[in-house]
Symmetry: C2
Subunit: 538 residues, 2 copies
Amino acid sequence: MMNVPLTVQSLLERAERFFPKKEVISRTHTKVQRLTYREIGERTRRLAAALTDLGVKRGGRVGTLAWNHHRHLEAYFAAPGIGAINHTINIRLSKEHISYIINHAEDDVLLFDEDLLPIVSEIAHELISVKAFVIMTDQETLPEVDFSPLYSYEELLKAGTPDTQFLQDIDENETAGMCYTSATTGNPKGVQYSHRGLVLHSFALGLADTVGVSESDVIMPVVPMFHVNAWGLPFAATWFGATQVLPGPQFNSKLIAEFIDEYRVTKTAGVPTIWLGLLQELEAGNYDTSSLVTILCGGSAAPRSLIKTYEYTYKIPFRHLYGMTETTPLALLSNLKSYQTGLSEEEILDIRSKQGIIVPGLEMKIVGSEGDVEWNGRDMGELMLKGNWITDSYYKDERTNDAFKEGWLLTGDIATIDEEGNVKLVDRTKDLIKSGGEWISSVDLENALMAHEAVFEASVVAVPHAQWQERPVGCVVLKPEYKGKVTEEEIKAFIAPQFAKWWLPDHILFLDEIPKTSVGKFLKLKLRDIVQEQLMKG
Amino acid sequence: MMNVPLTVQSLLERAERFFPKKEVISRTHTKVQRLTYREIGERTRRLAAALTDLGVKRGGRVGTLAWNHHRHLEAYFAAPGIGAINHTINIRLSKEHISYIINHAEDDVLLFDEDLLPIVSEIAHELISVKAFVIMTDQETLPEVDFSPLYSYEELLKAGTPDTQFLQDIDENETAGMCYTSATTGNPKGVQYSHRGLVLHSFALGLADTVGVSESDVIMPVVPMFHVNAWGLPFAATWFGATQVLPGPQFNSKLIAEFIDEYRVTKTAGVPTIWLGLLQELEAGNYDTSSLVTILCGGSAAPRSLIKTYEYTYKIPFRHLYGMTETTPLALLSNLKSYQTGLSEEEILDIRSKQGIIVPGLEMKIVGSEGDVEWNGRDMGELMLKGNWITDSYYKDERTNDAFKEGWLLTGDIATIDEEGNVKLVDRTKDLIKSGGEWISSVDLENALMAHEAVFEASVVAVPHAQWQERPVGCVVLKPEYKGKVTEEEIKAFIAPQFAKWWLPDHILFLDEIPKTSVGKFLKLKLRDIVQEQLMKG
């Protein structure tokens, strides 16, 4: 057999050749545009030439700090197209973390959205490797800034040649993309995506039994393109010639509902918070959602009631998927088997509430204290994953040592598996808080709280939240001499400068002690109960 | 990213773990059996152990001379499972060619069906490398034969251990399968399939935009498992947990119709002859074909009238695919784009009559005398293919030198490509008719002839001509009820409006049958001889 490298550029090349008339509908800061794949292809080639001119070399990194729109899509293909790496940066991280990430990845160029200029302005002087800043703007004039050099994305494209050839001699194991993920403690950890992994992941997304991405689809990733490849949908949708709807910056539930209605979206993807919000909007407004054939929900477990409402009230198929930054991300997908379609509504919801079955191409096991757990839906163990779109390391990071075992990724998720092979997450080995699909590290918050001179000890736990699933609450034991002399607001103000706003605990509770295990670790399960009780009391 | 080898055994392992209850419905010489994937898995592991005991080593070859049934399916996985090669042999070849193939491939073991014993008996003494003959039989006693050693498949399985582990340290570029293809002249040529190629091909078959093989499918490959992996369906169907219906030895149209009806077949695959035959059966009998969602038709171009009848009279989606032994085989598949569904019936049939668009994962080009042809649906050139499931050589065969050019496979098929990227075969490089310096497509003439209501099948060949070099002659087989009731002039008049005058065949000959190759393609070499003979007679 021939051995032809699996490359990211081949995905776009197929769209250019076979689906040149199909469109990407892109909302930017000022308007909604329609661009054909012929245009996207040409613009991507211009961008590839421009990046080369800016000094990006093979293996170099192009950082993006951007929402979901066509320019971001072009960056997804342009960097790999010249053998470089498309490095998406999570815009919701703290400035410190964003700065750390860019320096750690040694980004050569930073592409950023105009509404994110304030972040870039604040950190630009700290960025060691960045040789060029490129603002993705619809405006014709550049803003005044105190860093340089600053380029206009569209001006760069005008200068680039539209018939630039993508690199053909790529080794499929070379890195094409990169994304950092929040860690339990310390700085975010970098995950690298190979050409091979991204192409195989795209195959997986096209399978009839997973997402079945098709030319006839209109796909709207609400999940951000700055986080885990927007679940790989931009790659797969492009390859198979689907129409893409990219909802752009600062969208809200109303816009999501309108776009579904107006553009006849067939498949959309996002975290539970998005679908909770959309539900409120659908109930309030008058939208036609009949085009929808799948809502993909991941990031954290969707409440059963949410699944039920979409499936049975709105008749919109609602599918759990599970993955993480380390897994590109598609790993598990909840699907009924053909012999299960006659089950009762409640039995079907039981299945749909689980994270599902490992997708073709990956391997999984769940390992408890006595080895692989039984497939009985009760025994718990840690979910471990292996396969071509699972990372094998963190980029230049010692924490790699703790994350893998005998070739398997330790997900840190505790799960059960039933007799049909459906995995259900039951807990996390570490105490991360998942708010609106993003992770908040309780340990980082605890460390910050404990740095206050009045604090004896502090622990942070997650409490359920209607809109964000989970929100952090801080529990503080004050030193005796400070009791009654420090307010909740003072503590919050103390830690505020260190974190993104949405990381900050909703409440700080003052307790007399924090329950602990026999070895002195915080007993978070018990603490959560105490917190719930206190919050109920008001 | 991890780099985990793509292996054939991983496909079966997934079926064993996640679809153990799903079934393979297998017709053998004496009965129809149902086996679950759990049973198929266990039996395959027993077979793998037995093959090792018979002396098959890594890289060794296991020949199969067999119809479509569960034992053949087990062989598909058992040989690759121990690092050996599953070598399927076309039972319809001449004994000389079968003997050549087994010796050329140096098969260590030969598995064969009981009704093919006469073939094996005749050639056994010529087979140099074969160390063991294994008869795939339902009988408890072995037949009397004059070669040895002869084993019973089921007895070997009883002796093999059911928990045999498949080899895990396979390099994905190792060979897993092998099949010989007839050459225009000389002995058949061997094509080797790598683990990587077969897994990627299975991914391609699962895509929503190709065959979309799914757990919910009931898949019946009528195309033989002894030829080009039964179009890869046994691998994909197993991987995705589909129900498989294997129609066994010496089937006919009635049995195919009955199986579709009884087992609620959703997808089936075969050459046009099969579907012509089925159509007669459906017209005669009373069958429920409402379960069918796709008929896949390949091997040669289906007449437009056949496509039309299935699509519009029977409401069964009928899809052309194109491939060859060298391409595993899926290469092209005819699909409408989403913006074409509103076209007229005739326009849609125009598209469906073409071979279609290259599937994701492969590359194609059509090269004429002046380089890549224009995408105008008129300019002709040779179809060339590249990708991970395209062979890069013929096994130990000098003819490799003529079959490839700069990394591309020369298919020998002359094609056009339209502005949407749909490829249409117009002839073989060897079957084009050159009249007065201009090309005439025998395929277009054949399609026109087959659209006549009296015509069962038709083929057009070139005969030498003093003035024009070559002229076309049509060979027509009439449906039984029309025999003797249609004249040459009526047929000519029927097709005349569709072609330039000089394209029209000089003669129409009525034959009782058209000679075919072992895989159901028109045998034009032989047909030319018949035509010459008939024309001489006057």
